[in-house]
Amino acid sequence: MGVSLSRAAQWTTASSGTGKLELTPMNTSLLKEILCFVEQFSSQHPQEAEHVFKEPLQWSTTLVASDFKTDYDISDSDVRSHEKDSEGRPLLQLSPPTVYVRSFSQLSKFVHLADDKKLEELRACLEENRQPVVNILGPSFASLLEKEGANTDELSLIGEGEDEDQGRDSEVKVRLFLLLQNLDTQLLSKCLKEISEQVRLDPTAAKNEVELLRRFCSEGETRALKSVRYTSDYEFSNGCRAPPWRQVHGEMCYLVIEPCDTETLYVTCSTAGAFLNGGIKQDGEESGYEGTSIMYQDLVTLLNSRSPHFAENINKQDFAVQELPSTQKIQHVESVDAEEQGQPQRSCEQQEKNVHEKAGQQHTPNKAGGKKKYEPYTRWKNLGLVSPCGKAEEKNPSKSSGKERSGEMQKKKLGAKSKMKAEFSVSSLPGRLSSQKIRNPAGAVPADVFSESSSESEEEEEQPERRPESNTDLPSEYWQIQKLVKYLKGGDQTATVLTLCAMMDFNLMQETCQLAIRDVGGLEVLINLLDTDEVKCKIGSLKILRKISHNVQIRRTIVDMGGLRSIVKILDSPDKDLKALAAETIANVARFRRARRTVRQYGGIKKLVKLLECVPNLANLTANQVKDVEVARCGALALWSCSKSTKNKEAIRKAEGIPLLGCLLKSPHENMLIPVVGTLQECASEESYRIAIQKEGMIRDLVKNLSSDNDELQMHCASAIFKCAEDQQTRVLVHKYKGLQPLVSLLSKAGNKQLLAAATGAIWKCSISVENVAKLQEYKALDTLVGLLTDQPEEVLVNVVGALGEFAQIPANKATIRKCGGIKLLVNLLTGTNQALLVNVTKAVGACATDKDNMAIIDQLDGVRLVWSLLKNPSADVQSSAAWALCPCIENAKDAGEMVRSLVGGLELIVNLLKSANNEVLASICAAISKIAKDKENLAVLTDHGVVPLLAKLTNTTDDRLRRHLAEAISHCCMWGSNRASFGEAGAVASLVRYLKSKERPVHQSTAMALYQLSKDPNNCITMHGKGVVKDQQGCDIAAQKPGKRSRWSSNTPCKPAAARCLPLIHFIGSEDEMLQEASAGCVRNIRLLALANTKARLFH
């Protein structure tokens, strides 16, 4: 209530001291709302109604003692209510003319008593209690109400602070406060709604206003005016009385008003407000339309300022009778502001809110259908007023043309513009009449509504990227381009082609021009031209589009406008120039995902692939064939852009584009090869392409073009090889076609980092094959690679280090790396952050560490600590790679045990990584643990950190790689204390037995070793036996035969074929792998020994 009263209600500004609420419909509705609230309050909220106000509300009332009934002590003219507050004061007290009210219940009763005067009473009450909330709840609450978003927490705090002992009271207060706040919000939203409903004047509003003023003329002494009359009795269908050619200026009617105290006023009512004219007495006068006064918001305001008598009397008018016309609402907008200025303590939030309110007001008239149709009026009017002379006018429509994109609207504008000229040069009557037709508001409605709404939504979309529209900032190109677009719209084929050529003369790579074309609606016209039959227009349009589509925003707009549909359609055209241009444009537009998807959805990929069909490698081409080649080149360019989407790669493949690309790959021209190889290398991320590239024999051409003079082409070729050489066969082919030497020579182009990255990548992947490494070494690749370990961007380093890791698989190369100073450089890279790089570096360091001398250097540089610390890296890849690298380090370090122990917390870190969810990490950590556990002391520490249960827990895995290393780790960890028994207790033995069924030989070996170690514990032997290490499905059991039968068996050597069929460990004893043989035999022996001991024991007892 506080906010709405202070801000939304309209106070007369004239009076000092107590303000008066103006007689406006807004105030009336506000009052009615409040009245309704007060009336229902005591019935709806009985508890809150009893709350005694902080200060009484007091005002001079027109009620007298006789109006009061029971429940009141009436003595003379004074009235007191029976109900009293805690201090004995009556809740209602009347000592004429003033009344004091202390609670809502009394207020409700009072209002009921006032009956038909209740509005006036409430009005008086509010006028004399400018801050009712302060009175009711006290200043602290009132200030809260002023704040937006006050919540109950704050309220309860205040309540408690104020009177802690009266908890109930404050609770009521809070509720009362919330009720008031609700009312406030309600009132405000209502006001807002009303304000927004009508901001502009319209004929209906004007008519209402005149009707109202006429009523003021009727009454005798209190009449405000003598007479009000229209100059014309004829009313047009749109409600205006002004002649049509004046309607374009927004004028609606002319009035002759005779005030009581001054001379007769000749008033023009226009959509923008009312003003005095030159004295139009009757219809059809040709002069006097010019305004002689300033513009007033409405008639009442005008009269207020012109006639003091009117101003005085209008406020005296009986409130109940006062049904001010809706037009007056217009002034509310301003009065809100006026009131704001009088309120110094307003917060930012409120200001903001106010802004929103206004914004809302500005928007709504566009949407409200009824008022809408007069919009054009004002616009024409503004046009005329702002720039009456022809030249300046050009700017005005352009200002709006940015908003109104549709060509139709544009034409209307142009028409209107010329109309305005006609208006200012004295034109003949027929001209005027025809102009009126164009401007006929009813006719303009549909187009206007349509264009307005569409442009609005469009603007919303593009708002973020739009620069502020200000005419002064726009460069001259903007206006020139705008003119050209106008000719494009209205020109025939010849004019269109000329205009398109003129547009091409602009620097279309410059953003100003690109955006200008879009902003003046040129993009739409250009796209529309693509759907015509005129080849030359289409060519011209595409020539422009292919250039401006270098701009990101233009690309998006083209896609938004559905331009790709037309462009893709042109790909089917018989005209080769057109096809090439369309493809080139697509190449530019399809730089973002949505565009690429759209191209695919319109079937563009298929069409583009079709463009690739040509004969690229003939020596003497006819002119036609040359054009075909050009078309294919543009098609390849477009496919290159499109191929960045995975689905498009698939679509190209399905459209059988790969063989065509392979064919074009034989072209001798770089400008053809670049997009083709570009597409291929982009697509080579898909395995299907890698296979196809290899099968179609493209590796040969790719290798050939590695020796091209063009850096870009070389880069794409190297990049394609990089991706394809994941495949063994491809690596062989690269070698076969002598691709390794050019790759190495590319390493010298250290200036071009992209090329270097691609070349080193290709070398890395090729060096996965050992034969290739040997070949590469012939060209001294290793020295160069080590040289590239410094001052290179990470994408190069990743590949170089990757390659070093592969090279270091050959012992001789390890020494070379050391001699070139590579070890130190590699160790330095261990401190980096790039995960891909760290994976490769650790791998390379690990590979180098297999050489004792290298290891010495690594140890000296504290490399092991660095590698170890990478176990903390969040990336699982880095973790596992580091753990793998640790294995050779530990194996080859001079005093490995001591070294490991010196790393504080290192062992704990390792053990904790056994909780990882990544199998590769687990496998690598198990491998590292196997190495660490070779040192007894370290094994003791590992055991202390709980390595046994963690390892045992992992034994359930089915991952053979993990199984192998896990079993190895277990076998090594058995060497300490009671670990064997612990593994058994943790259930590891049973799981390990299952590993014997694995198909992987290395798993068998490590498992046999582990079982052998575990079998040294009798209990484990029993478990193994129970799980069938030595027992087949039929129950054939060698190791634990019943004594009776056993003697029979022991006389023969174990039947090997039978055992091989059904007894895993026995079978492994027959393995060719000596380790496996030995471990299996050892295990069986342990089980047998136990059985023997068992038998012996039985015999003795």
Binding site: S425, S434, G490, G491, D492, T494, V497, L498, C501, K543
Partner: protein, 215 residues
């Protein structure tokens, strides 16, 4: 009749011999076909000994319109003027075939020359502002309400001059025109359609081919 045919055949043979020496892009057989075609267009058999002036302006224009789908009267006049080299008001057989050689198979150079001639109405070797204005007069849709309906056209002419008038003398010389067209081929028919489009060329050539087959 057969005597006549033999005679005319002989005549055509001689004509073809002469003309094919003076015309590029057409083989002798093709020239023969064109001669036949020309005679058909002329509408009366070539009577030996009687002088035939050739295609007059009206006939020529209707041919341009029907076969090559040209519409602009002014441009067609220009085309006629360009075909009619001796300026006698008739397009003779030789002129027709020479014209067609550019029309159908002309190189860019030939076409530039040809178009420039078409657009240069008064034959002063310049395309003046006025000539441009005349040619472009109907190229913009002007609203009846426009104060100066020619304003757009005038502006378009200025834009064109700015674009093509390299020596800034306010008119287009052949050098200006040639340079502009070489930079941007679309400007070849800058002031109106004066060359047949690809489809009509194809159709016409097909007719010629068919006649060859008939022979």
């Amino acid at each position: 009749m057969s005597e006549m045919t033999a005679l005319s055949r002989k005549l055509i043979q001689t004509q073809a011999d002469t003309i094919s020496k003076q015309v590029e892009h057409f083989s002798k057989t093709e020239v023969k076909c064109l001669i036949r075609h020309y005679n058909q267009l002329l509408g009366q058999p070539a009577v030996p000994g009687r002088a035939v002036n050739g295609l007059d302006r009206g006939k020529f224009r209707s041919i341009l319109h029907n076969i090559f789908r040209m519409t602009d009267d002014m441009i067609m006049d220009g085309v006629f003027k360009t075909f009619d080299k001796d300026n006698d008001g008739y397009v003779s057989m030789k002129e027709w075939i020479q014209g067609l050689s550019v029309f159908l198979r002309g190189t860019l150079d030939e076409k530039i020359k040809y178009c420039f001639h078409v657009y240069d109405f008064n034959g002063d070797n310049y395309i003046s502002r006025e000539e441009m204005f005349r040619m472009l007069k109907n190229s913009l849709i002007t609203k009846p309400t426009e104060e100066d309906p020619d304003e757009g056209i005038k502006d378009l002419v200025e834009i064109t001059l700015k674009m093509m008038d390299h020596d800034h003398d306010g008119r287009l010389s052949f050098a200006d025109f040639e340079k502009a067209v070489r930079e941007e081929n679309l400007l070849l028919e800058a002031f109106g359609n004066c060359l047949p489009d690809a489809t009509s060329v194809e159709t016409f050539e097909q007719d010629v081919l068919q006649e060859q087959l008939e022979q």
